[in-house]
């Protein structure tokens, strides 16, 4: 096993390549100094990031119960997951969440950022107000939203006396549960993107706006031909980050619906959590985590490829 430990370059060893004189010798010393100074963070990175990552890859190739024998199954866990109808359903649920959440989040945050960019009273106050849900703990949010959603809750109680119709059982009905989770998530998450858009709007040079005015652009064409293209780098950043975080959605569904009713709101991360900490099938959980990682990587790569077509970096 010790053979696996590759000996690091010792100082006495000369590189095989012919190197020319002092300059590169000094560079070499710089390299060692750099290594010395960065070693604490390299050690930290190795111990707390690289090690767990490699370990999870190793675990994903085993049938790894917490108690009892571990058996090597190769790609078995991956094949099991890909053939598992429940895994496919949670994958679909996760994609559905992203498809519903992303446009809603961008529209709400962009709309409010544009509104806040107009000269209105209490602009700072609204900025803070809209950001509050981002910083309040999700557990507290969930308790409040349960009271809003439940039968005889806020929505039902205010709807029924006026219309005579009961509101749906939002979290108890499989047809409504995902929409309810998305609505709460948008409320809790739009503030962050709104702040990004707000900052990007403030950075648009006034000369460009003025020039477009002189050229005779009305408010609508100014929005679509000047403001939005100027915002495209911020929009690219916001959509990429939002897709990554929403593919990892967990807290909302875990606390608000517990993945139910049925498997209507069970997401990938929640499935992985259940496999790992409820069934203690650590191999399957690790394999699921790697599949999620590959999925996120793939989607993000596609987004980077696609950005050339719509993101404008000219200022």
């Amino acid at each position: 096993m010790n053979t696996a430990m590759a000996p690091p370059l010792s100082t006495g060893q000369r590189p095989h390549r012919t190197v020319c004189g002092r300059r590169s010798a000094r560079k070499r010393t710089d390299g060692w100094a750099a290594l010395f100074f960065t070693s604490p963070s390299i050690a930290g990175l190795a111990l707390f990031t690289a090690f767990p990552i490699c370990m999870s890859l190793v675990i994903s190739l085993f049938q790894w119960p917490t108690l009892g024998d571990k058996t090597f199954v190769g790609a078995g866990n991956y094949l099991h997951l890909l053939a598992d109808p429940i895994f496919r359903q949670v994958l679909l649920n996760t994609v559905l969440f992203v498809v519903l959440y992303l446009p809603a989040n961008i529209v709400v945050s962009l709309g409010l950022a544009l509104w806040l960019a107009t000269p209105i009273r209490g602009r700072q106050f609204f900025r803070v107000l809209f950001f509050v849900p981002v910083v309040t703990p999700m557990v507290a949010n969930v308790l409040v939203w349960r009271l809003i959603y439940q039968p005889n809750g806020l929505v039902d109680a205010s709807l029924f006396p006026v219309t005579g119709i009961h509101a749906p059982n939002f979290l108890g009905d499989p047809r409504w549960a995902m929409l309810s989770v998305v609505a709460m998530s948008v409320w809790g998450g739009f503030g962050y993107n709104m702040l990004i858009f707000s900052a990007a709007l403030d950075n648009i040079p006034q000369e460009i706006i003025d020039a477009s005015r002189i050229d005779g652009a009305g408010p609508v064409s100014r929005l679509f031909r000047v403001t939005l293209p100027m915002l495209s780098p911020a929009m690219f950043f916001a959509t990429t980050m939002t897709v990554i975080t929403s593919l990892q959605v967990f807290t909302q569904t875990f606390l608000l619906t517990g993945g139910g009713p049925g498997a209507a709101t069970e997401t990938l991360v929640q499935f992985i959590y259940g496999q790992g900490f409820s069934s203690f099938a650590l191999g399957v959980a690790s394999a699921g985590a790697w599949l999620l990682f590959l999925f996120i990587m793939g989607i993000t790569a596609l987004q980077f490829l696609g950005q050339r077509k719509w993101v404008n970096y000219d200022v």
């Binding site: 990175l45 917490t66 009892g68 009905d173 139910g260 409820s278």
Partner: protein, 424 residues
Amino acid sequence: MRAPNKLWKAALAAAFAAVLVTSACGSNSSSGGGSGDGTKNADGSVTLTWTMWASGTADAQIWQNIAKSVTDKYPNIHINLQTTAISDYYTKLGTRMAAGTAPCLVSSQSSRIAGYTQGMLPLDDMIKQNNYDVADFDKTILKGLSGTDGKQYAIPYDFGPQILWYNRDLFQQEGVPEPKVGWTVNDFLTTARALTKDGKYAIALYPTDALTMIFSMNGGQPVNDAGKLQLTDPRMVQGYQTFAGMVTKDKISPALPGVDSNWSKNQFYTGNVALMSGGPWSISDIKAKSKFTFAPVTMPAAPNGMQTSTQGSGFGISKTCKDPEDAFKALTVITSKETLSSLGQQGRAFPARKSAQNTWYDQAKMPGAKEVLDAGIAASQAQRYTKNWDQVSKLIEQFGVAAFNGQSPVADFLQQVQSQASQN
């Protein structure tokens, strides 16, 4: 630029290699003994770690005092008590057992012990060698804390038969006569219909609560004698159909607002429903969270007589413990009559020892409680559980909610949970 670049690569390769070596070593040591708890010092003293759940500082202090009483009796034994919130307790226990660093003294509920017996010592031989008299303990909970191999893995401290608690104020307000020991399923239905009016309901039925109530109704058990899940057993299907019908057809229970395991209790505490299923352990929570007078009653009796199931908790010894003899001595103190009496007196637990139960009745000051619990205990059996009970109960919540709200057939829900839970 080349030389430092190479250096970086070498450094990264070395770090990576080190990681691989440590990971390989890590996986080796986890299957071996590792550094088990309870190593004896040269002077004969030993420190044993005891892991237990606790809901707060006051609760943790109760257990701390018990830990101290072990050292009072056996001065060479010191207990290092570690308390965790119940929500994280089993995750922590499972990972520590997997790493070979489980504490010597392990606590477990009867509903969860099946998942951990592989990492625990059978206590039968030590019970014999130490002449520890277990006849005083309730038989059903001793059975509940034994494995499918018939061996005893933990000694109980508390237990209780499933009973119903009811809101006396609400019964009076609605003019419905209070239930009595020995009432039947038909009495229950008549009472429930009379209670359901003015926006109030008889009971809040939740899939996991109903699971144990089915046993009282028709004798159906979710798990067979061999420890295998049998949710599609005809009695389970019929029982669940009856309870789901109480929500959808009889409407004696409100519609379920989603997956929320505290919902049925909260409905009772806030006075929206008149009855709640539970055990003697529920009393302190009801006292703390409600503002009405309440009383216990037995589970409604089926036509062939009353039957109910018991649950409880106890303490065992982990396999990796270096000093099981002293750990067993500690167990005899923390499950002694004195300890269980003090737990009963403080209202923390309904003692698993018959001789200590009067302390609990004295502090509960609830007329009729003894009659109800005696009748319940006499008609009770150990509730059986599977190894993956946490997963099973989560699936039952997830899929049961839709079935109880009438959005999916009961048989499908049970089939779904049965097949998912049997996968691993």
